[in-house]
Every structure is written in structure tokens, then in C-alpha cells.
Amino acid sequence: MTDVASRVPASLAVDLGGLRLPTPVLAASGCFNAGREMSQLVDLKRIGGIVTKSVTLHPRKGLTVPRMAETPAGMLNAIGLQNAGVDQFLSHEAAWIEQAGVPVLVSIAGTSVEEYSRVTVMVRDIPGVVGIEANISCPNVDRRGEVFACFPDQAAEVVGAMSRLTRLPVFAKLTADVTNIVEVAEACIRAGAHGLSLINTVLGMAIDTETFRPRLGAVTGGLSGPAIRPIAVRCVYQVASALPGVPIMGVGGVASAEDAIQLMLAGASAVQVGTANFYQPDATVVIADGIAEFLGRKGLSRPADLVGKGGVRGVDAQSADRRG
């Protein structure tokens, strides 16, 4: 990565347990493809990295439209992981990734431990790929469609299998739709995950009051955007407090440098920007520049100086009544 890192002020480079990235601001999975389209609107050389749209073993046609609905300060989406499958990914994206000159993490999704494993093996040697993100917010067909990320044992099994198959750092991407996210996070790390990406979208729904039908073809969908930022900050804080030293990428509602800094203060070493790319294609770069400016203003030398500095020692985020 050094060649990439050297292109931006060293002061923005970050190290996630050995994974060095030129800036702490990446593009989130499913919101940037592999960067090809966006390269016309943003200088990829200046972003921290790209997490690809999730790749599955087999092609997926995805869900029925409507696939999105705007909600207050956010949006719902139900795409259904549409993608052409890992074969097409190798034949069409691998070459692009190699020459893009930006760190790429391949996001992998599946319906069984075997699918995740096979795709991991197929993508692990693509030049330019610096890591893997396990999108485990998917139903496990071998377990009556339970979502992997909702159960520590299932999350651990799939992430463990993937980690054993590659030397690349594997980040487990977790959902906040659980009773105890720390439990799931611990299971993933114990199973061999290198780090964690927190959080995926939050399950939501909207109904068209004129037609009396759900506004998404799939009825429910994932909530993203600034609306969920407080949930993402909380999850990062809870997990970072419980698992000090574990590399965390904060995801959820990041639209400004201030948002990114909140997640870093909560304990994230880097952040991912999703929805904001849709309306501000250069958000990843603008946010990184904002972080550099902020560090300068605060007299700090590197992003790492922010990580985990926004909590209060000795306070357990679980205790006391937090709901009015």
C-alpha cells in the first residue's frame, strides 16, 4: 500500500492492525461498486479505500422494485445483493482493481459457510485486494434462514472459516439489530476475524399511505444515512470499550468530517461512507480533507490520535436507564 499511501499527506495514513490505508475514509460496500463509475467524479487516489459491493458465489438478480424509499434523514433500501456472481467479478473487476491504485476490500456475502469460503478462496489473490469484509447480515439457509450476524455461533463459524482460508485481514461486518452486539463481536474476533465493520443498515419499513402498500417491493429494507449515525456511534463505542485494540471501521450516517470524527472518538480507526456518496460523490475525499484540517486545528499529528478518545473511563454504556 505504501505507493498509495505516499500519494496523500502521511499525516492521514492509518494502520488497522497492520492494514495500512492512505486515509481513514473508505467507501462502504454497495454504495460505490468497485469504483469504476465513481472514478469520473472523485479522485480515487485520494480515498482511503473501497469496499466492493458484496459478491456472492452465484449471480443474484436481486429483489423486486421499488428498491428504495426516502425517510427522514435517511433511506431504506432492499436490493437483495444483486450481483453477477464471483466468476463475473473475477473476469470484469479484477483487472480494474489491480490498476485502480486504491486499496480494495472485497465484500463477500452468501447463504452458507461453504459459499462464503469458496468465494474467499476465489478472490483472495486478486492483486490490489488488501482485505476482505464478511457481510454476514444474510440469511443462513442451513439454519432456517437465520441471519448469521444475529447469532454469535453462526457469525463465528463463517468468519472463522474465511479467516483460515486467507492471509488477508478479514473484517466482520455486524448489524445493530441484535440484543448484544458485543457478544457477536467477541465471537467473531475469537474465531479469527482481524477486525470489525460497524454497522450495516438497520431493518426498517415504510408504507405508502395512498396505495396501502409497503414502499419497498421486499416489504422491509435496510435503513441508512444520518438517521442511524447515533446507533452506529453507540455500537462502535460499546464494542471498542469491550474489545480494546481490535481494529474497527465505523459505518453509518457519515456525511461530514465531524460525523467521521465522532465515530473515531468512539473507537473506530477508520470510517466508511455509504449513502452520502449518492448525493455527494466526492464525500470520501471531502471528509478526509476535513479530518486533516481538524487535526491541524487541534494540534494533533495523526488520525490515530482521535481513536477512542471520546468516551468516559469507568462508565459502562450498558448501565442505568437510558430511555427517559
Binding site: L57, L63, M68, P226, N277
Partner: protein, 294 residues
């Protein structure tokens, strides 16, 4: 695909619609009929996403004078905000986006069918066709005369124009599809271009398929990005050999499609398919690439 901060040159009402002219030389230079732009809404609002609008006119005066014009119907907060812009306001625009209409080879006559504000991009197309000496005919339909888009302009642009309104307040009573067969015959049009409500596009495409006239439709589907990265704008296309289908992006592979390739039943069809139908068909190879060959 260019992103620019563009000055609002003028904003005026045309019937039920608003017409907005933006100073956007580079976008005007590249723009082709059928393409669209994405306009950013201001920060700090409850809604976040850009709004997509078809390009109605692109004046390539060269230098810094080039402008594009869009036409919009106020249906919600985004379009309301655009309609409240005033001259000299700056707006964040990305464009031109999507694939344009493909012009016919030779001087064959075309029939352009516009529903509501859908007629706006067809004026741009009509001018391009005439500049190349290709005869233009039009059917312009709407709910009422207020929503018949620029009929006088349309007349100027076409050899024959037929206007339909559902309330008979202008032209013939009914819908564009009621006069389609007749006008198609009378004008001997060999290509059909349509833009308007998806249900209208479906009816036009189905008629064209039966009478074997090639038909290009510019569709609308919810778009979160308009840039090809979110996959919300899915339209199901069938393989040329009729075997298999794939969801393509209206913002990149469209918004203009060969009407005979869209699987209308699946896309707009009444009963919403159950998730079962959406399970990946592992067996079948992705036909996306093939499908994009038109």
C-alpha cells in the same frame, strides 16, 4: 458525466410545469436526447437524495454561454424546492447521465410519443432528428390541456402532431394509445420514441411489438444515486434469445431501452412476486452483458 455548480439563468411556468434553465456549458456540450441530470438538494433538510430530471433542451452556444433546460412537475419536497429557485441561485448538477435515444439510419420518419412532462425530452430529440433531415411526427398526451407540454412548439417541430387529453380540454379525448395505431399508419413511421408514465410506455411498447415497429422508451424508476452504484433503479430485461432475464440499471444501461426487451409484467405487473421468485437462479449464467447489446 460531469459535476458542476451551475447558475440558474431563468425559471418560468409552462402550463402545469416549471421550466428551469441552467448555465452548464460542458454538460450542454455532451448532452444527447434522452439523457438526464441529477440535481442536489440543499443540506440540512429531512431529505437527502439528488433528484433526476430529463434534459429538455441543450443550447451549445460554445464558451460559457451553453445552457440546459429541464421541465418539472412539482410532486414533493424536492421538486418543490427546485421550483422555488430564483435566477442566480447556484445548484449542484451532475450530467449528462444515462444512454440517449439512438437515431435511425436513413431519412425514415419517426413517431415521438410524449405523456405529460415526458414530452419535454422528445423536443430535444425532435430537433436532433430534423437537423439530420429525418421527418418527425408526434403524439402528445396528458390529463388536461394544462399538462399538454408546449403543443405549439411541438407543432413547429413535427410534420404531424396529434394531441390527446383525458378530459378533451385539448385535441382528441382519450390517451395517446387510442390514436397510436392510426397515427403510426398515417405517418408510416418506422421508429417510435416514447417518454412518459411507465404504464403508457408499456402500452406503446406492446403495440409496437405486435405491429413490429422498433420502439425506444425512456423509463423512470426510483433512483437513489443516478450514477450506477446503488442498484435501486432496476429494470428487468429479457435476453435477445428470450431465454433468461436480468435486472439492469435504468440510470446507466437506461433510461432509454428497446421497449421489446423490457419484461413489463415482471417490472410493473400487478401482483408483486413473492421473495421466492427472487431467489438467485444459481444454474443460469449472468446475461447482463449480452442483454446490453442492443
Amino acid at each position: 458525466m460531469i459535476r458542476r455548480s451551475c447558475e440558474v439563468l431563468s425559471l418560468r411556468q409552462t402550463g402545469a410545469y416549471w421550466s428551469v434553465t441552467l448555465v452548464a456549458p460542458e454538460i450542454a456540450e455532451e448532452a444527447r436526447p434522452g439523457q438526464f441530470v441529477e440535481i442536489a438538494v440543499p443540506r440540512g433538510r429531512e431529505f437527502l437524495l439528488r433528484r433526476p430530471f430529463s434534459i429538455h433542451q441543450a443550447s451549445r452556444r460554445g464558451g460559457w454561454a451553453g445552457t440546459i433546460e429541464i421541465v418539472l412537475d412539482v410532486v414533493g419536497p424536492g421538486t418543490r424546492w427546485v421550483s422555488e429557485l430564483t435566477s442566480h441561485d447556484m445548484v449542484d448538477v451532475i450530467g449528462p447521465l444515462g444512454r440517449p435515444f439512438q437515431l435511425p439510419r436513413g431519412a425514415v420518419p419517426s413517431l415521438l410519443i410524449g405523456g405529460g412532462y415526458g414530452a419535454a425530452p422528445l423536443h430535444f430529440l425532435a430537433e436532433e432528428l430534423r437537423r439530420r433531415g429525418k421527418p418527425v411526427n408526434m403524439i402528445v398526451g396528458a390529463r388536461d390541456h394544462e399538462r399538454v407540454f408546449k403543443p405549439v412548439e411541438g407543432k413547429r417541430l413535427s410534420d404531424l402532431i396529434v394531441v390527446t387529453t383525458e378530459d378533451a380540454s385539448m385535441g382528441e379525448r382519450g390517451r395517446v394509445t387510442d390514436v397510436l395505431a392510426d397515427v403510426l399508419e398515417r405517418t408510416r413511421s418506422r421508429v417510435v420514441y416514447a417518454c412518459g408514465p411507465n404504464a403508457m410506455l408499456r402500452a406503446v411498447a406492446e403495440h409496437c411489438r405486435t405491429v413490429k415497429v422498433p420502439c425506444q422508451v425512456a423509463v423512470e424508476e426510483l433512483m437513489a444515486c443516478g450514477l450506477g452504484v446503488c442498484w435501486t433503479c432496476a429494470v428487468p430485461l429479457v435476453a435477445r434469445d428470450g431465454k433468461g432475464w436480468w435486472n439492469v440499471r435504468a440510470c446507466v444501461e437506461g433510461p432509454v431501452f428497446n421497449g421489446s426487451r423490457i419484461w413489463w409484467e415482471r417490472w410493473l405487473g400487478g401482483a408483486r412476486p413473492s421473495p421466492a421468485e427472487d431467489e438467485p437462479e444459481a444454474a443460469e449464467p449472468p446475461i447482463a452483458k449480452e442483454i446490453l447489446r442492443r
